[in-house]
């Protein structure tokens, strides 16, 4: 770090280490260290790749949730939305396959992104134009999306066409330079999310709307616009997660993405983003998603605690994280 930049602006501040911001990453490191000690299989490259890949969905959706929560809202519908978007995408791909062949996957993914964005827009408009509490509004759409996928699948499953399985497979099982493709996609999403939230005017306005909506309004920020956009970003993230998810099981079912909203919110909150809004922490959310998945993995690997208790342990984690956050502050 010897090369001086040609920066004539104010000298960089002597940045103190902010423990509250480092918390999620320290916790993640801690969990990994513990994992290594408990089980020698934990730190194998296969297992690590497996864990990181599995956490990709929650991480991608958590990036969107960081925007929504940062802007002062909440989205409970992401799990159901994920199932609904998955269902629509598979139906679209199956319909297009006879005429387009493997290209149906690309078009289907495009359809998924549009549907995801529209679902987000719907949530956003109900919250901002309808002026309904985000909790209630997305509780409503959560039920709607879940019912729609159940109805579409007739209570069973919507499998993807056999002809598409092989060409679609690499999106989940493939890799680039040894890195699983879902992980690459997650990285791209996270980098874009971090850029938008930290380096653009929209990100600034998002944090302002969540920090104090009145101040934002009095400063000429369109709070409704910012929040609606945050929901649309959330919808897009759900769609991206759905695109990665389909090849994994090859079908959409009424239980797809069930309770993911809780995992996503947990990841965001243990990542250091305040649930009441304000500053969002994208990388923290990713760390949160990884912590949840690593713990689940450890429980499966170690036999010390029944894996049926995974959700209970995750529940304990979120409470501990909040307590730690308070004491560090």
């Amino acid at each position: 770090m010897t090369s001086a930049t040609t920066n004539i602006a104010a000298p960089e501040p002597a940045r103190r280490i902010r423990w509250a911001e480092m918390g999620p990453f320290i916790a993640l490191a801690l969990v990994i260290v513990i994992g290594t000690m408990i089980n020698s299989n934990f730190l194998t490259s296969t297992n690590i790749a497996n864990v990181v890949t599995r956490s990709a969905f929650v991480a991608i959706i958590a990036v969107g949730a960081t925007f929504v929560i940062s802007s002062g809202c909440l989205d409970l519908s992401v799990g159901s939305m994920m199932a609904f978007v998955t269902g629509i995408m598979i139906l679209a791909m199956n319909r297009l396959e006879p005429s387009m062949g493997a290209n149906a996957i690309l078009v289907g993914a495009g359809v998924g992104l549009v549907v995801g964005a529209l679902c987000g827009l719907l949530n956003g408009l109900i919250v901002t134009v309808g002026k309904i509490e985000p909790f209630i509004a997305t509780l409503g759409t959560m039920g709607i999306f879940r019912a729609l996928i159940t109805w579409m699948s007739d209570g069973g499953s919507i499998p993807i066409d056999r002809a598409l399985r092989e060409p679609y497979r690499p999106v989940y099982f493939g890799n680039v330079l040894g890195i699983p493709l879902p992980v690459v996609i997650t990285l791209v999403v996270v980098l874009m999310g971090a850029f938008i939230l930290y380096r653009t005017k929209f990100g600034r306005r998002c944090a302002a709307a969540g920090s104090n909506a009145e101040v934002a309004r009095f400063s000429g920020v369109s709070v409704a616009g910012v929040r609606t956009t945050a929901y649309v970003i959330q919808g897009l993230c759900v769609a991206i997660a759905a695109i990665c998810y389909i090849p994994r099981l090859g079908a959409a079912t009424p239980t797809t993405g069930q309770l993911w909203e809780l995992q996503v919110i947990t990841a965001v909150v243990i990542g250091g983003t305040a649930l009441r809004g304000g500053k969002g922490r994208i990388w923290g959310s990713v760390a949160g998603a990884l912590i949840l998945e690593v713990i689940a993995n450890l429980m499966v690997l170690s036999n010390m605690v029944s894996e049926y208790l995974v959700a209970a342990v995750q529940g304990v984690i979120i409470i501990l994280a909040m307590l730690a956050h308070r004491f560090i502050k």
Partner: protein, 529 residues
């Protein structure tokens, strides 16, 4: 240190000796020795950061001293916490409203100390007792009113009522009138006088020196954490008090008035009505002019301008800025046209207290500060440095959050923030509420510079001396209507109050005579121009 020659009250109620407070290496208050007597009103004055709040918190048990000790009526007293202090009869009435908005007035008063009859709360007894205390403090609200629905001033009185629910020996008021209009201030002052008559020792902290002059028996001055001294209030003028606070001779508080503005009006508003606010209000302001807006709280002043800004539902017949009709009445639309509004509520609506200074500074002017896709943090940092220098914002570091600044510095940051949009018309609602006299004078100078540079400024203020001292023209509002226009020598505190309280549309004839009230020394200044 000069001591009071005339001890006004009775025996010592609360005595502090060598009281000091340090946080780590930083001493915020050192060696305060103070004797508060029963039946006296003892004012504590000082600039922001002088240590007033710390002293109050030490005396009321909210903070423990690092050195020194307290005694009550000759007996050593030690308050481990505020509850212990209250049990001993010492209570602090906080400046911030600390009430549960969804509970009723009576429920708030008895919160944590409910009266009960058997297992049930005794609502009737609590409501009855609440009504008594409310009457005592001159509040108009009723015990069953929901606190959240009350105007700010009533909430303040409820808060005082809560402190006075039980008999007290020492009552400490922390700027109780900061949010009150003039008639409400009067009511509060009589509450304080009532306490004094009943032999209560009252410690009174205020920025309003006129109140201190009207109320106090003795005055203690703090400056930079040091106790400067205690004086009998009798014979202590406001100017002298201000000089003691600032530690230098104050030549003037208000800038001299400017020559009358003669150019065409910059902003013309015709027939503006705001829901539950203003009725058919029309006004205009010229470049190079300070237009003052007076009136009691609740007269619709803030509502009028929030309506104009599109921040409240409003209807307007016609509004033009620099000759052009304004169609889009939103904060953003106005900003583009060249008009900004500074809210009176700098903590609730003005600044993001948890965000850094730079974020706050550029929030309103994001588009012009950051023309590209990416935020230009270098430019932002330079703007902040420039703003800190230009507006004399005193900060330890440029990387603080806005909430860590004192009130005066927050107000300057808010000014810097809206000025970044380069407006032609600036509306400032309560430019100096709750800030000390040094910062006040700087803000007045700043407003003067703005109008001298050809901008138009509208100042909404509850402080009459400020309104009179700054304005070239004053509109007095009453009941949502503009009751009178005062110009030239007719701009006096008496005329503003008269128009704001008794106006039935037309009040005392508004003339352009140069006579005016001979008691108002500002007339001379005005005639000189």
């Amino acid at each position: 240190m000069s001591l009071a020659s005339r001890p006004p009250g009775g025996a010592s109620a609360l005595k502090a000796e060598g009281l000091a407070k340090a946080y780590g290496p930083i001493t915020v208050l050192s060696d305060v020795t103070l004797d508060i007597l029963s039946g006296e009103v003892h004012a504590i004055i000082g600039e922001n950061g002088a240590g007033k709040s710390t002293l109050m918190k030490l005396l009321s048990g909210h903070v423990r001293p690092s050195a020194g000790h307290l005694s009550m009526a000759g007996q050593p007293a030690d308050f481990p916490d505020a509850v212990a202090a209250e049990a001993a009869g010492v209570v602090l009435v906080h400046q911030e409203i600390l009430l549960a908005p969804d509970l009723t007035v009576a429920e708030n008063l008895f919160l944590g100390r409910e009266l009960s009859r058997g297992p049930m709360t005794d609502d009737r007894a609590m409501n009855r007792r609440t009504a008594e205390v409310l009457a005592q403090v001159g509040a108009q609200c009723r015990p069953r009113d929901r606190v959240g629905a009350l105007p700010l001033a009533q909430r303040q009185l409820v808060q005082i009522a809560r402190a006075l629910l039980e008999p007290r020996r020492v009552v400490i008021f922390d700027e109780p009138t900061a949010v009150l209009a003039n008639d409400e201030v009067e009511a509060l002052l009589s509450v304080v006088r009532g306490l004094r008559e009943r032999g209560v020792a009252v410690l009174y902290i205020s920025h309003r020196l006129d109140e201190v002059e009207a109320l106090a028996d003795r005055v203690t001055v703090l400056r930079d954490g040091q106790m400067i001294g205690t004086w009998p209030a009798h014979g202590l003028t406001q100017r002298r008090m201000a000089e003691l606070m600032v530690g230098r001779e104050l030549d003037r508080l208000y800038p001299p008035k400017r020559p009358p503005a003669l150019s065409e009006p910059l902003l013309i508003v015709e027939g503006l009505s705001v829901d539950r606010g203003a009725v058919e209000a029309s006004l205009s302001v010229r470049p190079g002019e300070v237009l003052g807006i007076g009136g009691m709280i609740g007269s619709g002043r803030t509502e009028l301008f929030e309506g104009l800004m599109g921040l409240r539902p409003a209807h307007v017949a016609r509004v033009t800025l620099a000759g052009r009709e304004i169609a889009q009445r939103t904060v953003k639309g106005w900003q583009t046209a060249g008009l900004v509004y500074l809210t009176e509520d700098r903590k609730g609506k003005g600044l993001l207290l948890d965000e850094p200074l730079a974020t706050n500074l550029t929030l309103q002017a994001l588009e012009s500060v950051h023309p590209g896709v990416k935020l230009d943090r270098g430019a932002e940092g330079q703007l902040l440095q420039r703003a800190v220098a230009e507006y004399d914002i005193r900060v330890r570091s440029l990387h603080l959050d806005a909430g860590q600044l004192s009130g005066g510095n927050q107000q300057k940051l808010l000014l810097a923030k809206v000025m970044l949009t380069d407006p032609a018309v600036v509306i400032i609602d309560e430019p100096t509420r709750g800030i000390d006299i040094g910062n006040k004078s700087q803000i007045y100078d700043f407003i003067d510079r703005l109008v001298r540079a050809g901008k138009a400024v509208i100042v909404i203020s509850s402080e009459l001396p400020e309104l009179v001292g700054l304005s070239d023209r004053v509109l007095a509002m009453r009941g949502g209507r503009i009751a009178a226009e005062l110009t030239g020598a007719n701009i006096t505190e008496e005329n503003v109050v008269y128009a704001a309280t008794s106006g039935k549309g037309q009040v005392r004839p508004v003339t352009q005579t140069r006579g005016g009230d001979p008691n108002d020394k500002r007339d001379d200044q005005y005639r000189g121009t």
